[in-house]
Subunit: 497 residues, 2 copies
C-alpha cells in the first residue's frame, strides 16, 4: 500500500484517515493525467479490493473527490472524471531584459503593504492565507496558554538559532520534501522575509548580480534593491518555471552570485518546476559554482500529493539555502519562518543576529506544540483542498468577468492567481480606481525588478469563496474592461491626430 | 507644585499617587546632591506644609525612601541621608584606537547568544530584565486573551509601519523624554535590534565610518561588521559619556556618516550624558552634517526622576534617529521595538520591509492595551526602584568578592554593572572556567569593535537579589582572583626566564 509511505514519520500515521489517503491518491492520478476527462474511474468494489479497505472507505474517498470537483457521479454508472472545461489561455512566457538591472517599484509595494488587511477592503492583493479554519484553533489555544506563563522561557530572549523544540519539528517536516536536515542546521527567522534577506546578505556584496525567476516575489525584489544588488530576470514558463537554457547563457555571460527562485507553487505564477528541471538547475549551479536561494513558502500547499521535492533535497554540497515559514500555511501574524542555509550557516547566523537578534519565543513554543501534536498535517490537508477549489472558482470568475483575451495562470498549489491582460493595458491606475469599491489587487509591476508586467495583476483566492469575493473579482474585471476601453480609445485618438 | 508637571499627559495623573511623587522628588534631590550623606532631611511637618499634603502622605513617602535605601530614620531625630559608603573607583576613561577599524568578536558574541537564558545557568551576561514583577501580569492577560481571537487583525500581516494603536501610545510615551513625535513618524520594529540595524542601513553604505561610544552595545558592533561599516571608537567617560573634544577631532579628520550612541543609561557603563553634552553633541552633528542614531532602550529605567531627555528632543532638522524597545522595560520575548527616524523615515521603512516585512501584530495589540490602560508607568516605577537597589547590592558584592583594584561603574539607570579588573587581566577564558559553576558573564571584548576591554566584564543585576545571585557573583570574583594570580605568576615566570 504505497500511499502509506509518506506518513511513516512520527505519529502522523495515526491521524491520517484511510479515506483521505485514498482520495489524495486517486486525485493525484487524475491530476497527473492517468485518468482523462470523461474517463470512468475504477468501481468502489475494485478499489476496495486493490487497497484492502472497506467499501465505505472507498465511498467516503469518492465523496471527498466529488466535493473537490475532481470526480462526478453518474447514477448507476459509477464515478467519472468531469469533462474538461474550456480553460483560459496561460500567461505568456516572460520576455526579460537579459541583463542585470537595478530594482525599482518601492512606491507601489509600499502602497500595498501600508494597507492593513483587515477592515472593509477586500484585499485580493496580499499573500494572506485563510486564517478561519477550525484546524487552527489548537494553535491559538497553545499560544493563549503559553502567553499567561510568566517565565523566562516564554518572555526572554531565546538562542539566536531559535527554539530547539521547533527546529526539531521542522527537521521532521522537511522529510516530506525529501530533505534530511538536522535541527542544528536550521535557523528560525522572523518570517520568510528575514530568511530570504539573511540568505542574500550571507552570499552577496553590493553590486553583485542575482538571477531570479520572473515574475518574482516583490519582497525579494525589494531586498535586492535595499542591499544594492542587481537582478537578472530570467524568462520563466508559466507551467515549468525558469528557462534553463536562458539560465545557462546568463551564467556563461555574467558573474552571477546566486540564483533566487520559488520552484514549488511559485509566487505569483503557481507552477511547480518539474523534478528533472530542479535537478538540472542544481547541476548548472554546481558547474558555475553559484548558490541557490530556494523559497519554499508555498511548497506545502501543493494540491497534488505527495508534495513536490525541493531543490535542497538533491543538494549534496550545501549550496542550497532553503527558506520557508508558517505564514502561508498557518498565519502570517506569527512571524515565524526558518532557513536551512547549508554551508552558509555561520554567515546566516550572523546576519540573523544583526537584523533582529532573536525571534519571539512564544509563537515558536506554540508551533512546536502544534506540529509535535500531529495537528499540522490535517490543517494542511484541509487548506490544500480549500485552495484547490478556490482556484477553480476564481478562474471561472475571471473567465466570466474579465475582458476577452485575458490570460490566467494554472496554479498547482498556494492561493494566488496571476492574470494577464492584453499588451498595452496598464494596471498602475487600477488600485486608485478600485479604492472607492473597497477592493485592492497587486499590480503586476511589483513582481519585476524593472517594473515589467504592467499588463498583469495578482489576486488571492484564499478566503472561503462567497458573494463578496465574487463581487470583488467582478469589480476588478469591470474596472479592467473600462480602463482597457479608455486606453484603446486614447491610443486611437493619438493615432488619428 | 512642580512635581505634578511631569504627569499631566493623558490619564497618568490619576494613577500617580501623591506619596510616590513626593518620594521621587526627595529621592532625586538626594541623588543630585542637594542633601549630602549624614544630612538631616526636612521634617514631616515642614514637608507637609511645603507641598500642601497630609502628614501621613509625607510619612508614606519617607517609608518608601527608607525601603529604597535612600534615607534612614533615627529615633526622635527624624530622617537622615545615610552616611556614604566607600564606593569602588570608577572604570578608567577608555583609550581608543582613534582611527576607524573593522569589527571582530563575533565568535564571543555567538557564544553568549547561543545559550538560552533559562535553565540552570545564572545568566549574568545577557541584557535580560526581571520579568517576574506582578505589574507585568495584565500584559500577559491581554496577550493571552488576544491570542485566542481568530481574526485577521491578530493573525495576519499588519502594515509595514506597525499597528497604529501602539504607535499612538509610543507617541504619548516619548513626551516624557521631551519629544513631540506624531504616530506617523514612528515605525514599529522587531526589537531594538531591527531599529538600530535599519537606521544604520538607511544612512550608510559599505565602507562608511560610524563614530561610536566605547565600550558600546555588541549588537551594534556586529551590525557594523555585517554591513561592512567601520567603527571609530571614541574615548568615553564612565560618568558623562562620549568625549566631545575627541568627537570633534574625529569629525574634522574622518568622513564620518553617523554617530551611534546610548546617551541615557548607557549600556554597558550606565551613565547618563549630561543635557549640556547632549546639546553640544547635536550641534557638532549639525555642523558636520552627520546623522545621530540614538539608542534609548534603557532611558525609561533611569533611577532619577523625571527621566533624562533624549538628544532627539533637541533635534530640529530630523537628523536624529531615535531607537528603543520594550525589551528592557517589559520583556525581550515580545520582540517589539520602534524607531522615530526623522528625515530618514522613507529609507527606514524600506529597510524594515526588506528585513522582516512586518512585526507581529499580537504583541503590538497587547502592548497598546497595556500602555493605554495606564499600566506601564507603575511598572516602570517598580522596576526602577528594584534596579536601583540591585545596583547597590551588586556593587557591594563586587567590592567584597573581587580582587583589590577592581573598578566598578556607577549606573544611573538600567541593570548592568561594568567591572574593570587590573590591566593585564584577560577575561577571554573566564566563561569556560565559570561553566562548571553554571554562571555566565559578558566578556568585555564584545563591547569593542577592536576587541579591547579584555580586562573587563559586564554583569546583570536585574533579578531580585537572592543567595543564588550573590553566590554567582562570588564565584565570578573568586575565578577572577584565581585567573589573575595565575596570569601574574605566568608573567613573573616569563620575566624570570
Amino acid at each position: 500500500m504505497v500511499y502509506f509511505a509518506f506518513h511513516l514519520y512520527g505519529q502522523r500515521l495515526f491521524i491520517m484517515t484511510l479515506y483521505v489517503t485514498l482520495a489524495e491518491l486517486i486525485g493525484s492520478r487524475i491530476q497527473q493525467g492517468l485518468y482523462l476527462p470523461g474517463d470512468r474511474l475504477p468501481s468502489v468494489r475494485a478499489l476496495s479490493q486493490e487497497h484492502g479497505v472497506s467499501l465505505s472507505t472507498v465511498q467516503q474517498a469518492y465523496r471527498q473527490l466529488e466535493d473537490d470537483g475532481l470526480v462526478e457521479p453518474r447514477p448507476k454508472s459509477g464515478y467519472f472524471v468531469p469533462p474538461s472545461r474550456q480553460k483560459p489561455a496561460l500567461p505568456m512566457v516572460s520576455r526579460t531584459a537579459q541583463r542585470p538591472v537595478e530594482v525599482s517599484q518601492w512606491d507601489q509595494v509600499l502602497e500595498l503593504v501600508s494597507t492593513p488587511p483587515y477592515g472593509d477592503v477586500v484585499q485580493l492583493g496580499r499573500g494572506i492565507p485563510d486564517i478561519e479554519a477550525p484546524t487552527l484553533k489548537p494553535l491559538l489555544r497553545s499560544l493563549s496558554r503559553l502567553s499567561r506563563r510568566q517565565s523566562l522561557k516564554e518572555l526572554s530572549y531565546g538562542c539566536v538559532e531559535g527554539e530547539i523544540s521547533l527546529r526539531e519539528q521542522i527537521s521532521r517536516l522537511v522529510l516530506d520534501s525529501g530533505c534530511r536536515i538536522p535541527p542544528e542546521d536550521i535557523v528560525v527567522t522572523t518570517g520568510c522575509h528575514e530568511a530570504l534577506s539573511a540568505a542574500l546578505r550571507a552570499i552577496c556584496q553590493p553590486g553583485d548580480i542575482v538571477a531570479v525567476d520572473s515574475p518574482s516575489f516583490h519582497g525579494v525584489m525589494q531586498a535586492l534593491k535595499g542591499f544594492g544588488l542587481k537582478a537578472l530576470e530570467l524568462p520563466t514558463d508559466p507551467l515549468t518555471g525558469i528557462n534553463l537554457e536562458a539560465l545557462e547563457m546568463a551564467l556563461e555571460q555574467w558573474p552571477i552570485k546566486a540564483i533566487q527562485l520559488t520552484p514549488s507553487c511559485n509566487n505569483p505564477l503557481g507552477y511547480i518546476m518539474p523534478e528533472a528541471n530542479k535537478r538540472a538547475l542544481l547541476e548548472l549551479a554546481q558547474r558555475y559554482d553559484v548558490a541557490i536561494i530556494e523559497d519554499d513558502i508555498y511548497g506545502e500547499l501543493a494540491y497534488r500529493y505527495p508534495r513536490p521535492r525541493t531543490i535542497k533535497s538533491f543538494d549534496e554540497d550545501g549550496r542550497v539555502l532553503l527558506c520557508s515559514s508558517f505564514s502561508k500555511t498557518l498565519a502570517p501574524g506569527l512571524r515565524i519562518g526558518w532557513i536551512a542555509p547549508g554551508r552558509y550557516l555561520q554567515r546566516v547566523l550572523h546576519m540573523k543576529y544583526m537584523s533582529t537578534g532573536m525571534s519571539a519565543q512564544l509563537p515558536q513554543l506554540a508551533l512546536a506544540e502544534f506540529i509535535g501534536g500531529g495537528l499540522y498535517e490535517p490543517h494542511l490537508r484541509r487548506m490544500r483542498s480549500q485552495y484547490a477549489r478556490g482556484r477553480e472558482l476564481m478562474t471561472g470568475w475571471v473567465s466570466q468577468y474579465f475582458p476577452a483575451g485575458t490570460r490566467v495562470s494554472q496554479p498547482q498549489g498556494g492561493f494566488m492567481l496571476w492574470v494577464e491582460m492584453p499588451q498595452g493595458f496598464d494596471s498602475q491606475r487600477l488600485n486608485r480606481l478600485l479604492a472607492p469599491h473597497k477592493v485592492q489587487v497587486a499590480p503586476g509591476s511589483i513582481f519585476s525588478a524593472a517594473g515589467k508586467y504592467r499588463n498583469c495583476l495578482r489576486m488571492n483566492f484564499a478566503p472561503k469563496p462567497d458573494a463578496r469575493q465574487e463581487q470583488a473579482v467582478r469589480r476588478v474585471g469591470e474596472t479592467v474592461s473600462a480602463l482597457l476601453a479608455e486606453q484603446e480609445t486614447g491610443l486611437e485618438e493619438m493615432s488619428v491626430r
